[in-house]
Amino acid sequence: MSVKRLQWGVRTLGEVLITFGLLLFLFLSWQLWWTDVTANRAQAVTIHALERGFGPVGTPERTAAAHVTPLATLTKVPFGEAFAIMRIPRFGADFARPVLQGTDHDTLTNGIGHYPGTAFPGQVGNFAVAGHRTTYGKPFSNIDLLQTGDVIVVETKASYVVYAVDRHVIVTPDQVEVIAPVPQHPGVKAMQAWLTMTACHPRFSATQRYVVFAKLVKSIPRAAGLPASYMAVPAGTVG
């Protein structure tokens, strides 16, 4: 009798452990694969909605004729709302990801997140954003491949804001001075427009942050169109 009870106990324990192992495996496949599937789909939908909302794209040929409208400045965007499209030729010619307001877990699931309180695209100060290096569509999966001079285009309703990569640093998650108006120099008054991108580092870990700084090259009114040369894919591109 007691031997039978013991056998039952051992068997049940084994079954519970196997079930737990399978659940862990299931969680891994969800985290590493399924979140990419759903996030890529959702972010593509957001991109289409943004492009529709931004209106027709001007062509470079129309530049001369186009009235150069003053750049409408973004000042306040509701938390969680998409307001820009980030294009990075180094990540592939058709790499386009939505930029949303906020950097909490849910917002980063839907795209690249803008640190509230930092500058908006093209403004003097630091337009600071965060993105996933792995999972949830991993927009900054290849952030470590960005090289000095690489072009990053941030498209808003008003303009194409073109940045060029300056440098990168690897910091701990509490080093918020990377998103200061002058990156890494908190308290200093900003004289130019910066872009800061943060992602987790190393891959599949959150112990550090891979941070890329880029400087404003040019803001081009949307009506003028984006010169194709900015979107030229650099050699050695993975995407």
């Binding site: 969680f27 640093v169 080093q175 918020v176 001075e177 200061a180 943060t198 599949f204 959150a206």
Partner: protein
């Protein structure tokens, strides 16, 4: 545990197999749609932003 479940399922064995598959599918769906999204924010590998308890910009830490 699984033996008891197998005995609880009604019908001949092909029906039991079918019911097991349906149950398994339902379990995976519940995990993918509700359970996993709910626990993911607490996983230690999901951080991509920089933040501190201090109001920005009060962090004069030097950078590597």
């Amino acid at each position: 545990m699984y033996g008891a479940l197998w005995r609880l399922l009604p019908g001949p064995w092909p029906v039991k197999v079918l019911l097991s598959l349906v149950l398994f599918g339902a379990l995976v769906s519940v995990c993918f749609l509700w359970l996993f999204p709910a626990i993911a924010p607490y996983m230690p590998f999901n951080g991509n932003s920089v933040q501190s308890g201090l109001p920005f910009p009060a962090s004069p830490t030097s950078v590597i």
